[in-house]
Subunit: 374 residues, 2 copies
């Protein structure tokens, strides 16, 4: 290990927005950064080379999914997740916690862990902090996540119990971790309750881990609540550690997150939207299925430099969609991922030149309120 | 137009097998050659760049499909098929005849043309030799095909009527053709009847077109009948024109076709097999869904130089298949197309070094009779 591994070089700050470099065994992450999601060891419909060409340098994969299929032992036998899926840049795995709570057919939480039924075949399984870390060590991502309980933000009593359990589980995760080429990030919970969030951020920060994640947002609360929670957390977050806002998301949430000091984001949104024919443009989101694009010789987004926009017309993409051709998903995914990656690259530049607020406001004004006809 | 456009330089012969170069407005075709099929202006699940990387230099697209969706006028408005799908190497369109007879929901043939119902929405349409050429001129492929009637090889009486009609239609196609940057190929019909095939090849050859196609094979007749028909045709085929065996196909049919003087092939097989998890190897066809590949760290085919074989294990591909990930189809399609393209490249070399029979027999012995465990 390089002795700088898992350290963050903070290069610039502009208000609360930060530009930095986080060092991992598979390369540097230039923050702020957006990670596309490769749920089942593949970013849906894209080859690793196509993902690289979007400029992505971090891919997230899901412990819950890989544990069920093909199994962590098999991935380990194939040399770990990087080798298995042939992605040689940094990777992050989540703990499986969120999927157990959102996807599993049944779950039962106790102080020790969670018993759940697979959404695939109903078979019964159990995750504990120790087993989650064990699985993530077999998968071998650069950044691994503490096993947490993601509870309903609108149920304060349960939320408090869940938060306390998440803190205890974090201590067990730290204790059971054995690989020094993986960074464990702790996760702040507490729903949208200011007091609980303060308590949680202080606890997680006190563990002095190489990174700190904000969980339990983008799960149904309002944008106002999400941004208010980030405002609450900011003064308590260690300056010298990357902050990761999990499961976010939209261009507006990314910019609002950066504005509140977040460094790392991940979301299935760009690839999921692509499978529903929706694409990001500077003038807002468009649906390429619309008949209005049938004769449109423009690219999805004239300002975009992705392979899809450099190569294909909206008319062709709409034809692929109407004809139910798989290529449509791949081409729109390439664009949507590139769109968010470029938003992050430009944010970083703007932070370094102390013009982030203007950059973000200009982008958002046009993105959210455009009257342009797409 | 270069004056050599649509001429064939015959570089070598080995028995009846031929190696040549056919000049088209979008580049040279080095024969023997295999063309993957891009039915709806896309080779399913692959970007044009991925197709290029298989070494493919000719792609076929289907007039019937493009006429129905998105319409030939739209393709013309977008600059033609090459521009529309961003494939800048040579293209071939069929006449729509075969699809009308195999796919349409209803069809009614008369001396003037065919009335049919769309398989998509049941709407009624009509193709004539003139309209087929008109559509193909709007699409703008380098090689276009005469409108023919593909009849049941086991109904000699109907077959004779259909063949006579196909010949009359060929004359009308020639007459209605107006673009000089497209080569029109006539199509030999006649089922598996030796006399009718002789009659048909003589008629089509007498039209002195830049290429000649063999239709009505690979439609249910036995391999023995297919090869016998090629044997019947060979002495009557002009030496200086490329011969195109339509809709073929398997590695064994390609080699047997070359052995009988065929230069050009096309087939949906490599991409269709890929969507059913099947892959070509030198030891025969394998199905990657098989549990036996779950822990297999080998590529699909160790001797293959495609992106998929250079990059991924069978274990990973099987995982993608089991997890129902689209990427599986793309990666196996890349391999299967490359496998057939490479078979053609090696055949061409073998013909040039006068060793084609040994090459073909060595390949076929292993491919068809391998005892190797895949």
């Amino acid at each position: 290990m390089n002795k700088k591994t898992f350290s963050l070089d903070l290069l610039a700050q502009d208000g609360l927005a930060r530009a930095g470099t986080f060092h991992t065994p598979h390369g540097d992450l230039l923050t702020p950064i957006f990670a596309p999601v490769g749920t089942q060891a593949t970013v849906k419909s894209l080859t690793p080379r196509q993902i690289e060409e979007t400029g992505a340098s971090l891919v997230l994969s899901n412990t819950y999914h890989l544990y069920l299929r093909p199994g962590a032992e098999l991935v380990a036998e194939m040399g770990g997740l990087h080798e298995f899926m042939q992605w040689h840049r940094p990777m992050l795995t989540d703990s499986g916690g969120f999927q157990v709570f959102s996807l599993a057919a049944m779950r039962k939480v106790d102080e020790d862990g969670v018993t759940f039924k697979s959404h695939i075949d109903g078979s019964v399984h159990r995750f504990t902090p120790e087993s989650s870390i064990g699985i993530q060590e077999k998968l071998g991502a650069d950044i691994i996540m503490a096993f947490d309980e993601c509870s309903d933000p609108n149920d304060p009593a349960y939320n408090r119990k869940a938060m306390a359990r998440t803190h205890k589980w974090l201590e067990r995760c730290i204790k059971s971790k054995s690989r020094d080429d993986q960074a464990l990030f702790g996760i702040i919970q507490g729903g949208v309750d200011e007091k609980m969030r303060e308590e949680s951020v202080k606890f997680v920060a006190s563990m002095d881990l190489p990174g700190i994640a904000i969980g339990g947002l983008s799960v149904g609360e309002s944008k106002t609540e999400m941004y208010a929670t980030l405002d609450t957390l900011n003064p308590h977050l260690p300056e010298d550690k990357p902050r990761y806002l999990m499961g976010v998301g939209t261009p507006e949430d990314l910019l609002n997150g950066i504005m509140r000091g977040v460094d790392i984001f991940d979301c299935v949104l760009p690839t999921r939207l692509a499978r529903h024919q929706a694409a990001f443009t500077h003038s807002g989101r468009i649906n390429l299925m619309n008949a209005g694009y049938a004769h449109d010789a423009n690219p999805i987004n004239a300002e975009c430099d992705c392979y899809t926009c450099r190569t294909f017309t909206r008319a062709y993409l709409r034809h692929l969609i109407v004809a139910k051709e798989m290529l449509a998903s791949s081409l729109i995914s390439i664009h949507n991922i590139r769109f968010l990656i470029k938003l992050m690259e430009e944010s970083r530049q703007a932070i370094q030149s102390k013009s982030f607020e203007v950059y973000a406001n200009t982008f958002l004004e046009r993105y959210l309120h455009s009257k342009e006809t797409n």
